[in-house]
């Protein structure tokens, strides 16, 4: 069998459309399709079973027998059974179709049915009416029906959902064996459920198949896997070591107040009379063209700009220039930028990079406590990099480095998290990874986020305040 969709557009009920679908499935391949809710992953797989109307593009290839198990198919069957009830004109209560009849529908192989009923331990309900079953039970029945129809292409939408551990193991084993003869395409929501026999991953975003990658492409596969992991697992931001510095702040004071800021280099003024106040819990996006002084503003806040001593700056309870050290300021800030990544050219381990966030240092110069190491490992797990703690940071891909630096910035739960163009220089998949992580962080509500970005499409849910700065460099007379 083989299927080749090129530039396909499919329309479904209620106007939902899949766009620009390019997808080739060859004999012997097994796919997992995943993506956020509403991304169209179930719809994509359903098209292989003939659902949706193709309104553009070409589709080539042939499949003799297709079987689909999905929530939608399940719902349709349940609906059909219910309708039978309603349609009953007799004044007796209908028992509906018995389970064994359902299992025989569609010309299934009786031996396989028997075998699977035993494997799922469902003998006890063969004579019951289908509509009397629980959701879990109907699911299993439909699975058996699909498997026993001996398809050439088996489509399984979230087949593992709601299965108990024993059944899950049994089914996975069964599918693994089946994969020798049948092509399997699954929709899965959890990256940790991806079976070993899967040869390809596909990622749906905004109703299109945004990425697809073969397992043989190691780095590509790992990135996509990580993305799935971040997007689809139920992640919790790890705790911080001791109490966060949040406790040191006076809740009645703003986090940052920049008053009448002027910054000039030689004869060039880059900022003039700039004012900004950031309160706790107020997430901001800072926009402006290159050279408008965005970076200068950020570095005035972080204390990295030498002119922060000649401006009126109030940060985290300090009026700058009164004997505070930059380390006292930095303890309240988590910071990520491309420039930081360039600076962070170190051969230290991934774990140490994360721990260095506790000390605001580039590289680690203090002995990490056990607790800090433990937290670093939790972050690595969150990033889908568990088991890689001792790898060298400078050997990581650019995108992975960025993720790690975000974890480093967040590790101490800073009152202010500054993300200076965190997606800059990243390809789409890594951009998705970074945005997924940032969204998790925003949702956790631990830090006030200050986000700088050029790309309007890289918006982050939860940011509601916007500061636009104009380019207004002018010469000093």
């Amino acid at each position: 069998m083989q299927i080749h969709l090129q530039q396909c557009q499919f329309e479904f009920e209620q106007g939902f459309q899949l766009q620009d679908i390019n997808w080739q499935i060859k004999s012997g391949q097994h796919w997992v399709i995943t993506g956020a809710n509403g991304s169209g992953k179930s719809a994509l797989v359903a098209t292989l079973a003939g659902y949706g109307e193709k309104i553009a593009g070409t589709s080539e290839g042939s499949v003799e027998a297709v079987a689909l198990v999905s929530f939608e198919a399940q719902a349709a069957l349940i609906e059909r059974e219910r309708k039978k009830d309603d349609a009953d004109i007799l004044d007796v209560i209908s028992v509906g179709t018995a389970v064994h009849e359902i299992l025989a529908e569609g010309g299934t192989n009786a031996n396989i049915v028997k075998d699977l009923v035993e494997k799922f331990a469902l003998n006890y309900l063969l004579d019951r009416p289908f509509r009397a079953l629980s959701t879990g039970e109907t699911r299993k029945i439909l699975l058996i029906q699909a498997l026993a129809s001996e398809p050439q292409l088996l489509l399984l939408d979230e087949p593992f959902d709601g299965l108990d551990a024993d059944t899950l193991a049994m089914l996975q084993q069964y599918l693994a064996k089946l994969s020798n003869t049948v092509n399997i395409v699954m929709v899965l929501n959890r990256s940790d459920e991806i079976p070993d026999f899967i040869t390809h991953l596909g990622y749906m975003r905004n109703a299109t198949l945004a990425h697809s990658v073969a397992r043989a492409d190691e780095s590509g596969y790992r990135e996509l896997f990580q993305l799935l992991h971040l997007k689809t697992s139920d992640l919790r931001i790890p705790p911080t070591a001791d109490s966060s510095t949040q406790a040191l702040l006076n809740p009645d004071q703003p986090l940052v107040v920049l008053s009448d800021i002027c910054v000039k280099y030689d004869q060039l003024k880059v900022l003039q009379n700039f004012n900004w106040r950031i309160d706790t819990g107020q997430h901001w996006q800072l926009c402006g063209p290159n050279g408008s002084g965005k970076t200068a503003i950020l570095s005035l806040i972080t204390g990295d700009h030498p002119q922060c001593y000649s401006n009126d700056i109030f940060v985290f309870g300090f009026q700058r220039g009164n004997g505070e050290s930059i380390w006292q300021i930095k303890q309240f800030i988590g910071y990520v930028s491309t420039a930081l990544q360039w600076e962070y050219r170190v051969g230290t381990s991934l774990r140490n990079v994360i721990v260095s966030g506790f000390y605001d240092s580039i590289g680690l110069y203090s002995k990490a406590t056990d607790k800090q190491r433990q937290i670093a490992d939790q972050w690595l797990a969150l990033l889908g990099m568990q088991g890689r703690a001792d790898q060298s940071f400078n050997k990581l891909s650019f995108g992975d480095q960025r993720l790690l630096l975000i974890a480093r910035a967040m590790v101490k739960h800073p009152p202010l998290l500054i993300l200076d163009e965190p997606c800059l220089g990243l390809d789409d998949i890594n951009r998705q990874l970074v945005l997924a992580l940032i969204e998790k962080i925003c949702a956790a509500g631990l830090s006030t986020v200050l986000y700088v970005n050029h790309h309007s499409e890289d918006t982050i849910a939860g940011i509601e305040n916007y500061k636009n700065i104009e380019k207004h460099s002018s010469n000093v007379d």
Binding site: P306, I362, L364
Partner: protein, 512 residues
């Protein structure tokens, strides 16, 4: 007599200066037992000796004289550590808005004249070029507050010129063992550079010198990378020795000899230039991580033995030269010679600088071929041998002269990669531009003596040890000989102290 100098016009003072200081060499005024005591002063300080942080300088007014490599970068660090820093520059620098004025004012510092700022200062950091120290200190001293502190980052003025400083003033030294740009870069990363501190015992009227020096070292971040508590004398005598022999002298002489030999043997000049320009940096990178042993371990076994033998021979030939440099430094011959050149408006120095620019190595641009990291070792066996010989000789000579091993380590092995890096950037010219005039002067002295000294040795050298590498079909070596060489490498005292000091550093420093 010195006091009255303040009123003498500058040109005159320049004329008088070296004559007066000749007789005033501070070290030479000390009794032998005191000389030895001062030379032997050096102790690696524990991090827990810095728990008071910058407290001793909190609220004090720090005024920096000069805003060059050290002045600007130390000042940025001190300010970021919460201290009150401003700059005073000579009038001309302010009037002409020179680079030093721009450095200070664009970074948001207050800049003023000596008259405006020196009288307000609790601590004055003299970060002008060493050559100017007598004139500068003589001019600002009368303006200084009573009981204030005067600090240096190099002790030449006090030790070699015998500068007499007002008795109420505290005199300290805080000397980062790295170029100014590194001082800043490491601080920003949350670390620091190894730093040497000292108190001038003749000028510590309130016994506050050490506390101030410690706070200053914390303010620049030095305490995180390791602080050596030393003396003015030990700092000067070891600093001079290191910079003129292994650090600059050996690399300059080695560059010229290796390049000329390769070209003589028909190796492409672009390749030769590249191998030398970048080779020092690559091989000394290995030195930085694991000492001489690790540098030689990067070679194959037969090559390692070859490098070892070459280095032994080089050491025998060059030992008298290293001894002479150390002797001239100790008895003041070196500094009085150099000060005589100062009085001649640097006639010799400038002449030698011009000569360096004319060497074939300097004038041949590096080719655009690829040289892999390992190839720098395999084709640069002689360079490895030269670094080994120079590091060990400098270390041996210094310690034999009474300088403590810790100090000798920092002034030889530790700094070699830093200088090698400047050659990689822009060859000998950049190296000589980056180092102080004092180091540059000493480097040329060394080079002039060392080139003829190695003439016969170089006659036997062929491309197997420089340029092409050995063609070993068979990697075999005599086991007994290899064991002997490995043991000798590891047993050298610079390796022993290096192991300890690098251990201190890497305890704190995950990256180098």
């Amino acid at each position: 007599m010195l006091r009255s100098l303040a009123n003498v016009p500058v040109e005159l003072s320049k004329l008088f200066k070296w004559k007066m200081t000749m007789s005033n060499n501070y070290f030479n005024t000390l009794a032998l037992r005191d000389q030895l005591e001062q030379l032997g002063k050096c102790r690696f300080m524990h991090l827990n000796e810095f728990t008071e942080g910058v407290d001793a300088l909190k609220g004090k007014k720090i005024v920096v004289i000069g805003c060059g490599a050290q002045g600007l970068n130390q000042g940025l660090n001190l300010r970021d550590s919460g201290l009150d820093v401003s700059y005073t520059l000579r009038q001309a620098a302010i009037d002409e808005k020179r680079q030093s004025w721009k450095n200070a004012s664009e970074n948001g510092f207050t800049v003023g004249t000596y008259k405006e700022l020196i009288p307000t200062a609790d601590v004055v950091l003299n970060l002008t070029p060493d050559k100017q120290h007598t004139a500068v200190v003589t001019e600002i001293m009368p303006l200084m507050k009573k009981d204030a502190c005067l600090s240096y980052s190099h002790g030449f003025n006090v030790v070699e010129e015998g500068m007499q400083i007002r008795q109420d003033l505290t005199v300290i030294m805080v000397a980062p063992k790295c170029p100014g740009s590194e001082v800043r870069a490491e601080y920003v990363r949350g670390f620091g550079v190894p730093t040497l501190i000292a108190v001038h015992e003749d000028n510590d009227p309130q016994g506050q010198g050490l506390a101030l020096a410690k706070a200053y070292a914390v303010g620049t971040g030095g305490h995180k990378a390791g602080v050596l508590m030393s003396s003015f004398i030990a700092e000067v005598k070891s600093d001079l020795m290191g910079e003129q022999t292994i650090l600059c002298g050996m690399l300059q002489t080695g560059s010229i000899l290796c390049f000329d030999k390769m070209v003589e043997k028909g190796i492409d000049a672009g390749y030769a230039s590249k191998l030398v320009q970048y080779g020092w940096e690559v091989v000394t990178e290995a030195l930085k991580y694991g000492g001489v042993t690790n540098m030689l371990d990067r070679l194959s076994n037969p090559d390692k033995i070859a490098a070892f033998d070459l280095a032994e021979e080089l050491k025998d030939i060059m030992r008298p030269l290293y001894n002479k440099h150390q002797d001239d430094i100790m008895d003041g011959t070196f500094s009085s010679g150099m000060m005589a050149d100062w009085a001649e408006d640097d006639a010799k120095l400038l002449g030698w600088r011009a000569e360096t620019a004319e060497t074939a190595f300097e004038k041949t641009p590096a080719g655009d071929m690829e040289i892999s990291e390992q190839e720098f070792f395999d084709h640069g066996i002689l360079m490895v041998a030269m670094v080994k010989a120079g590091v060990e000789l400098a270390f041996e000579t210094m310690t034999a002269a009474g300088i403590i091993a810790d100090s000798a380590y920092y002034e030889s092995l530790h700094e070699t990669p830093l200088i090698a890096n400047t050659i990689a950037r822009k060859k000998l010219y950049e190296m000589n531009a980056t180092i102080s005039d004092t180091a540059e002067y000493g480097c040329y002295l060394y080079n002039h003596a060392c080139l003829p000294l190695l003439q016969d040795f170089m006659k036997k050298i062929d491309t197997d040890v420089i340029g092409k590498g050995t063609v070993n079909d068979d990697n075999g070596v005599d086991n007994a000989r290899l064991i002997e060489v490995n043991a000798a490498l590891r047993a050298h005292p610079v390796e022993q102290i290096g192991g300890i000091l690098r251990g201190h550093m890497s305890d704190m420093k995950a990256i180098i």
